[in-house]
């Protein structure tokens, strides 16, 4: 597959791509993790009940 390596040479600085990608992903992932873990559990528990909170329609019932 050495033939394919010519593609690498045609793109200047190609070797930096995977590193940028990895850094980008890791940074955003840990940032997101930090933000989410900081979120108040009471609040997320309330959010998780949203689908169950629409039982105010006129006919909602357990049909099973």
């Amino acid at each position: 597959m050495r033939f394919l390596s010519q593609y690498y040479q045609e793109i200047e600085g190609i070797e930096i791509y995977p590193i940028i990608v990895l850094l980008l992903f890791m940074t955003s992932f840990f940032l997101m993790l930090y933000v989410i873990l900081r979120t108040d559990k009471k609040q997320t528990d309330m959010y998780s009940r949203i689908p169950l909170d629409d039982n105010n329609s006129e006919f909602e019932q357990n049909n099973f």
């Binding site: 597959m1 033939f3 390596s5 690498y8 190609i14 992932f29 689908p51 329609s57 006919f59 099973f64």
Partner: protein
């Protein structure tokens, strides 16, 4: 806060649900027909409109865009109104969305039947329909965003995030992959060529699975599973983490469809790494779904809706573990081009999409008709028919895949291929193909049972078109962050920056992958002896595309000894620089055709053989499952388009001269006359304008270029392909 009364629109949900069920039957019927055709060629029915090559894209498009697509709209329109506590933004947009989508499906079925196709998998539709899809998709987005802006709640529930990500990603994928130059109203050429086209196509193809079959269904799971189980989501934090990780990672995984192809190694590796990383968010979603059922597993035993959903989520987990495994190069070397891929996608399509849709339909119909389900027993019966259907479908195909790949790769003690005749490997797996028919039939029967049950349910109740609800008006809060509010909470109530972030997360992968590939000038990889197709070969290539040959025959010899021994020299990027679109294929139901033009090569057959074989494959090989193509002898190529096709190619940078364009039909006839003369020597009289002549010319061109070497005076001669400079690098 003032309590407001409003009405949910159930009419649009019912319309989409009815369409889901109708197109579901059509998709499954077409699937069953394909299974029959593979086992018994007589089911090709002797017509060009019903051959495997044309039926296969109708089945995939019907399953993905008609069955699953309508299910997405049905579930999204129902859940969005409820979690946002408002009616949809516009009833008119809802109707345009519905009728526009159905029009697209009908046009798709018609054009694909007539052989009007781009040949790019799951993107086969021609350019006017592509434009229509873009318009209808924007209408859906407009309606969704309008609904989000007029919501009565502060927080946007996680299901809606998945819908937003799906909307953004599908819009981008569809537009980029559908960039094409029209020749006529129903014929166009992809603006990308060869490996670039392959990368763009599989960036699209893989993400059609990601953002059409997965993310919207995760949205549905996050709404309907808690509703059916009457339990909140196991972990909302996990849902957020797996949302962001999933939308960021998914878009990178496309190149795993092109492993061992002539796609650059860096792109292949990127696809593999991100595919493996995808296990984490996918399983995060699956576990979140299954753990939502904690404490109610006793209900799963008696409630068929929960049974369907539990199996759906399990199938999702199995598919998303299997997918990354298949993307490992060593596994892919075995699995690619075999029925393993087909089994894998059907675990996803029948298990994940099918069963979640069935669960959703059983849950929605009794509620919208304010009644109870007609028969729980019948629903349970459907569950077992469906489950057995999946097993009888998938297990034989895994078996078939291992059998066939091992036969392809086996060498005898003398170092020769143990099964040099491709057909031997096909006849060996026929028993598995018969069993697959049983699986498909059971799955279809289950669908019929469900239809009966749901129709009886609907008749026993009264449809509530306008469902009354009430909620307090939304509190108006400052657009900036308030004290104690986290960034994410602030973002969640500010839709616009939220959309932008989702779009960025989705797009960054595509940009990093695609831009370097597009930035490479296509002539960089040009092999000196590779020249554009002659006008006759170009027309022949379009016959090949129109008949859907790519659905059974690959044009990609991978760099394995088992493949170079069977087919010839492995495929190189430079060979396909004028291929608009690429035709690598994804499954070898028949042998690879990349080297059929190499005179003296392993795959070369003369014009007479091709003529006889295309007319009646079974006359040459009684056990062949290839459909006969007698109409290619009767039908004419539309030569009035030859010049326009050459000029369209010129506009894409294919180096035809002005004279070649002007004399396109003269060149066409000159070459065609040579083929008809050679056929005449075997006693076959055929006119030069017939499709079969163009197709033979194209088949005789494949792989020919790299066997030529350029002389100093510019002429070309035959040469051993190993002397090709490119191959030596």
């Amino acid at each position: 806060m003032e309590q407001q009364t409003f009405y949910y629109d159930n009419k649009i949900v019912r319309l989409f649900l009815n369409a889901t069920l109708l197109w579901g039957v059509v998709a499954f019927l077409y699937g069953l027909l394909l299974a029959l055709q593979l086992a018994f060629p007589v089911f090709n029915l002797g017509m060009e409109y019903s051959t495997f090559g044309r039926i296969r894209p109708i089945h995939t498009n019907a399953a993905i865009f008609a069955f699953v697509g309508n299910a997405i709209f049905a579930g999204a329109y129902y859940s969005m109104q409820r979690v946002l506590k408002t009616r949809m933004f516009s009833d008119l947009l809802s109707k345009i969305n519905f009728w526009g989508w159905q029009l697209i499906i009908v046009l798709a079925a018609l054009t694909l039947t007539l052989g009007m196709t781009t040949s790019k998998e799951y993107a086969e539709l021609e350019w006017p329909i592509d434009i229509l899809i873009a318009i209808v998709w924007v209408v859906f987005g407009w309606n969704m965003f309008g609904t989000i802006y007029k919501r009565r709640v502060k927080h946007i529930y996680v299901a809606i995030w998945f819908y937003i990500a799906s909307f953004v990603a599908v819009a981008v994928l569809h537009i980029v992959n559908s960039l094409e130059v029209p020749v006529t109203l129903f014929k166009s050429y992809s603006v990308f060529a060869g490996v670039q086209d392959g990368l763009v196509q599989w960036w699209y193809g893989h993400n059609a699975v990601a953002f059409f079959l997965t993310t919207p269904f995760l949205g549905l799971m996050y709404y309907f599973l808690p509703k059916a189980a009457n339990r909140p989501v196991f972990s909302y934090k996990l849902s957020i983490i797996h949302f962001w990780t999933l939308v960021f990672l998914y878009i990178w995984a496309g190149p795993h469809h092109l492993l061992y192809s002539s796609l650059p190694d860096w792109a292949q590796t990127l696809g593999v790494v991100f595919s493996v990383m995808l296990i984490a968010p996918s399983w995060g979603g699956m576990l979140n779904g299954l753990l939502t059922l904690r404490g109610v597993w006793d209900k799963v035993r008696e409630n068929p809706i929960l049974k369907f959903m539990a199996v759906a989520v399990t199938a999702y987990g199995m598919s998303t573990l299997e997918g990354p495994m298949l993307s490992l190069k060593s596994v892919n070397a075995i699995s690619h081009f075999t029925d393993w891929t087909i089994a894998h996608v059907h675990i996803g399509a029948m298990g994940w999409n099918g069963f979640l849709t069935f669960g959703m339909a059983y849950w929605l119909i009794p509620r919208m008709y304010d009644t109870k389900l007609y028969s729980i027993k019948l629903a349970n019966f459907h569950f077992w028919l469906g489950t057995l259907g999946i097993l009888f479908y998938a297990i034989p195909l895994y078996w078939a895949a291992f059998t066939q790949t091992l036969m392809w790769k086996e060498f005898n003690a003398d170092g020769m291929l143990a099964y040099p005749n491709f057909l031997e490997t096909v006849t060996q797996i026929m028993p598995m193909y018969y069993t697959r028919i049983v699986g498909g039939t059971l799955f279809l029967l289950g669908m019929v049972v469900m239809l009966y049950n749901l129709i009886k349910t609907a008749y026993s109740g009264k449809f509530i078109a306008e469902e009354m609800a009430s909620a307090p008006a939304r509190e108006v809060i400052s657009s900036s962050r308030v004290a104690g509010e986290t960034v994410h909470s602030w973002l969640e109530r500010r839709p616009t920056p939220f959309y932008i972030l989702i779009a960025l997360a989705v797009l960054v992968g595509g940009i990093v992958e695609i831009v370097p590939m597009i930035a490479i000038k296509s002539n960089v990889a040009t092999i000196a002896t590779v020249t554009p197709y002659t006008p006759l070969e170009l027309q022949g290539r379009d016959v090949y595309i129109s008949e859907g040959c790519v659905n059974c025959h690959s044009q990609l010899v991978r760099p394995f000894r088992s493949e170079t021994e069977r087919y010839g020299e492995y495929s190189k990027a430079g060979e396909t620089v004028y291929d608009h679109p690429f035709l690598f294929g994804s499954r070898r139901i028949g042998p690879d055709l990349a080297r059929t033009g190499v005179v003296g090569g392993k795959m070369y057959k003369n014009a007479t053989w091709h003529y006889n074989h295309l007319q009646n494959p079974q006359a040459l090989n009684a056990q062949s499952n290839m459909p006969p193509y007698p109409w290619l002898i009767e039908s004419d190529v539309d030569v009035s388009l030859t010049e326009a096709k050459v000029r369209a190619m010129m506009s894409l940078g294919v180096p035809y001269t002005e004279d070649e364009a002007k004399m396109a039909n003269d060149l066409y006839m000159n070459q065609a006359n040579l083929i008809t003369a050679s056929l005449k020597e075997s006693g076959i009289n055929v006119e030069p304008t017939k499709k079969i002549v163009a197709l033979i010319a194209y088949l005789h061109r494949l792989g020919k270029d790299i066997t030529m070497s350029k002389q100093a005076d510019g002429t070309t001669t035959n040469a051993d392909s190993n002397t090709d400079k490119t191959a030596q690098q």
